[in-house]
């Protein structure tokens, strides 16, 4: 009996410590219990990687300057041993890192907080009227571009409509030979559009923009084109022809020639990580800059790339607790113990309904394929490997079909870990053969129910806020998992299973 008591005391202490630390953190750093109203604070981190030659290094990265729709709140750079300065000049705002000598792989970080502003997305007017940039073509290109421009200008009346017509011509399928020639020699269709507009004496410039999505890592910039309409700069999406800045688009690089210059290094590239904060900016700044124990050991001190990973990782205990609850207390059967958590993580990236639809359809098609495979008399390992290859084909085909139909949802399924899908299909088909289709529905349905419940909890903004800003609350979850692990009472499903005992 005393063993039981110590266990209960331990569970109680773990939960109490979690709550206590969370309360202390709240009092010490002022991070609120509830997510803030102003939810659109973006922490964006640019990471410059290059391989140094051994000599002096100068790396300069273009920075956003008054990006429309956002206000720069705070910025900092972190790179050991480098001199850092922010330059504001002819070529726009740039971050410059310098070092006397360095060798091998180097990583430089620049991070900034942007607050989404509610105001209209008006483009700021420049002081003086910009001039078109000079364009250099070879003979063939020059003929092709003149013909293309002639066709576009025939059906347009203003810089805006000219741009739209050009976007249409450039994206026409199949491309006519002029477009094909120009596209084959340009690095991106945005660049080609920019050159064509400048040739038509319409001032246009290439813009590098960043799509903001929560907890994304290793993102690249998307090239876009800004066209001077005579009054203001107007942003064009070179693929769709859409104008204006969407609310989740941050214009990172707008002025000057290059996004990134590195002298003294090779293979330089820049990638971006970002995270959406639910803590009011002021408190976050306080929490980060104060010198308390909490801020020093808080997740906020990590680079944003790691933070966005932790944001997902710290939600996993919630999923694990859901699985324990559903299996121990409710008695739901699932295929594979923790498979539902992995599926719900995938749902987090795809959003629920498209993810559910594509998962179910891929597994269903896979089951049909598997029934043919079983006639081929293959060894188990080879059969699963075959299934993985077929699943990849299937997903590719679905993605292509989806894309042709105009849905990007087809792509979504690629986020699902391939092996999980293949294993699920294999397990389900064995279940089908051994226990019949009913058991497949019971276990498959059970897994999906658990996955959906875990997903709904993990998507909850309050729980996301708490798990990320108060990681110690996961101790409370741990305590509840431990307590459930000692539950010896009946499961909900057993109340149904043993109903025959009621007959007397």
């Amino acid at each position: 009996m005393s063993k039981r008591l110590t266990f209960r005391l331990m569970v109680f202490f773990i939960a109490a410590i979690g709550l206590l630390v969370a309360a202390l953190r709240h009092m010490e750093t002022g991070i609120p219990w509830l997510p803030g109203q102003e939810t659109s604070i973006w922490l964006v981190e640019a990471r410059v990687d290059f391989s140094a030659d051994g000599g002096a290094i100068t790396a300069s990265l273009s920075l956003p300057e008054n990006p429309p729709g956002f206000e720069l709140f705070e910025e900092q750079a972190a790179s050991a041993g480098y001199g850092f300065s922010l330059l504001d000049g002819e070529r726009g705002r740039r971050a410059v890192w310098t070092k006397r000598s360095a060798i091998d792989d180097q990583s430089l970080y620049y991070s900034a907080q942007f607050i989404a502003t509610e105001e209209e997305f008006n483009m700021p007017r420049d002081g003086k009227r910009p001039r078109p940039l000079p364009v250099f073509w070879n003979d063939a290109q020059s003929t092709a571009s003149s013909e293309l421009l002639a066709r576009a200008s025939e059906t347009s009346s203003s810089p805006t409509s000219l741009t739209r017509e050009l976007v249409k011509l450039l994206n026409m399928k199949p491309a006519d030979q002029n477009t094909a020639l120009l596209l084959s020699q340009a690095s991106a269709s945005a660049e080609l559009l920019m050159q064509l507009l400048n040739q038509a004496r319409v001032p246009a410039r290439l813009v590098m923009a960043l799509y903001l999505e929560d907890a994304r890592r290793r993102q690249r910039l998307t090239p876009m084109v800004e066209v001077y309409t005579g009054e203001e700069w107007l942003l064009f999406n070179p693929q769709t022809g859409a104008t204006g800045v969407p609310p989740n688009l941050l214009l990172w690089h707008r002025q000057g020639n290059s996004l990134l210059d590195v002298t003294g290094g090779r293979q330089s590239r820049v990638s971006f990580s970002m995270i959406q904060q639910s803590v009011p900016a002021r408190q976050l700044a306080l929490a980060k800059n104060s010198d308390t124990l909490f801020s020093r050991f808080g997740v906020h001190r990590l680079p944003i790339e790691e933070q966005s990973m932790f944001k997902l990782l710290l939600l996993l205990p919630l999923g694990a607790a859901v699985v324990v609850f559903m299996r121990v207390l409710v008695g739901l059967q699932t295929a594979g113990t923790f498979m539902p958590i992995l599926v719900s993580l995938a749902f987090m990236q795809t959003s629920l309904l498209p993810g559910l639809a594509s998962f179910v359809s891929v597994v269903a098609i896979g089951l049909v394929m598997r029934s043919y495979l079983s006639r081929l008399n293959l060894l188990l390992v080879a059969r699963i490997a075959t299934l993985i290859v077929l699943v990849i084909f299937m997903i590719s085909v679905l993605s292509v079909i989806g894309y042709q139909l105009g849905y990007s949802t087809g792509m979504i399924i690629t986020f699902f870990p391939m092996i999980i899908i293949a294993w699920t299909i294999e397990r389900m088909s064995i279940l089908w053969e051994e226990e019949g289709p009913r058991e497949v529905l019971v276990q498959g349905g059970g897994s999906l129910v658990v996955a959906v419940i875990a997903y709904l909890l993990m998507e909850n903004p309050l729980l996301q806020h708490l798990s990320f800003n108060f990681p110690e609350l996961n101790l409370v979850l741990l305590a509840s998992i431990l307590a459930m692990g000692q539950y010896t009472g009946y499961k909900l499903s057993e109340l149904r299973r043993f109903r025959a005992m009621d007959e007397g």
């Binding site: 008399n377 060894l379 064995i430 226990e435 009946y490 499961k491 149904r496 009621d502």
Partner: protein
């Protein structure tokens, strides 16, 4: 017709053992994990049983490698009937029963015809781990087919009826007979649709019978009255179960055995995590019996025969009625 749900209080009053309680209070407490491989691997169980002189169907040969399958036709040529089993299979998965042969074909217990290719594929799948837990590599056991004891004639459809006994600390505490039906495809698994018949511990008479968790009185395929079932060598059955405890040392164990017409009770396999459906088949919960055995003094160590006599007396039909 029974209601859709039963209240937890009634379930507790009936003494029903739930899965959480079974896992923590009985399997976790009385079963040493190190002994699990002895029962999870049927080949090990069989060899152990031979050492302890516990009767079990004769082992013909074992197939361990894929390349041995090519020559298996010659080895099978001498056998008229046989059973293929994966050593690590669970829940009756992967067991292939061949009743007889017709020319080049093998006849399954369901009457279906198989050729040598089908048998070889089954072996190949077994070796690759299709039927074992978490797909681990496995071996195929080829053993003797049980000669159906005629006392169950008409009670089982397309399959050998088997008896499950739960033994706790070596005392048999509950038993049931499992009868294959058409719905269960010749298998004796209750959740696949086999009939479970609860047996009185003192006599082996039928107490109660269920299929798909519902009470029945006659076999759904043959129409025989299940109430007439009884066994003449009941004490032998319980003795076999009690001796399996001495063999493995597992405190909470399920013993599956069959009655052979010539050889008497034969141990088929042991289970360190026996299911709970036996309680529904008996119409009684396990908890009171388990608590009774748990209450016996630790130092009370008696021979299998003594434990069987004790269980037959304490858990008799008459003492249950009181």
């Amino acid at each position: 017709m029974s209601p859709a749900w039963i209240s937890p209080r009634r379930l507790r009053n009936a003494g029903i053992l739930g899965m959480n309680s079974r896992n923590i209070e009985f399997i976790g407490r009385y079963n040493d994990r190190r002994q699990f491989p002895l029962v999870d691997n049927k080949l090990k169980t069989k060899l152990l049983a031979q050492d302890y002189d516990v009767p079990t169907p004769a082992l013909h040969f074992v197939i361990r490698e894929q390349h041995e399958i090519a020559n298996v036709a010659q080895q099978l040529a001498q056998l008229d009937n046989f059973v293929l089993k994966p050593a690590k299979g669970s829940g009756g998965k992967g067991i292939l029963v061949i009743n007889s042969r017709r020319g080049q074909h093998f006849i399954k217990s369901s009457g279906a015809l198989l050729d040598i290719g089908d048998v070889q594929r089954h072996m190949s799948n077994t070796l690759a781990g299709l039927y074992s837990l978490s797909g681990a590599a496995d071996v195929v056991i080829v053993e003797d087919l049980i000669a159906f004891d005629p006392c169950f004639q008409g009670y089982s459809h397309e399959g050998v009826p088997d008896i499950r006994v739960i033994a706790f600390r070596g005392y048999p505490v509950m038993a049931m007979l499992r009868l294959a039906t058409h719905a269960s495809d010749g298998k004796a698994n209750l959740h696949q649709g086999a009939v479970g018949v609860g047996l009185a511990m003192d006599s082996g008479r039928c107490l109660n019978a269920v299929q798909f968790d519902r009470k029945i009185t006659v076999h759904p395929d043959t129409g025989r009255d299940l109430g007439n079932i009884s066994m003449n060598n009941w004490r032998e059955v319980l003795m076999l179960a009690a001796r399996c405890y001495d063999m493995t040392g597992l405190g909470y164990m399920g013993i599956d055995l069959v009655l052979d017409a010539n050889l008497g009770p034969q141990m088929l396999e042991l289970n360190a995590r026996p299911g709970l459906a036996i309680q529904v088949a008996n119409g009684h919960g396990l908890i009171p019996r388990l608590r009774h055995i748990e209450g016996l003094p630790e130092r009370r160590r008696i021979e299998a025969a003594g434990r069987v006599d004790y269980a037959m007396r304490v858990f008799s039909e008459a003492s249950l009625a009181q």
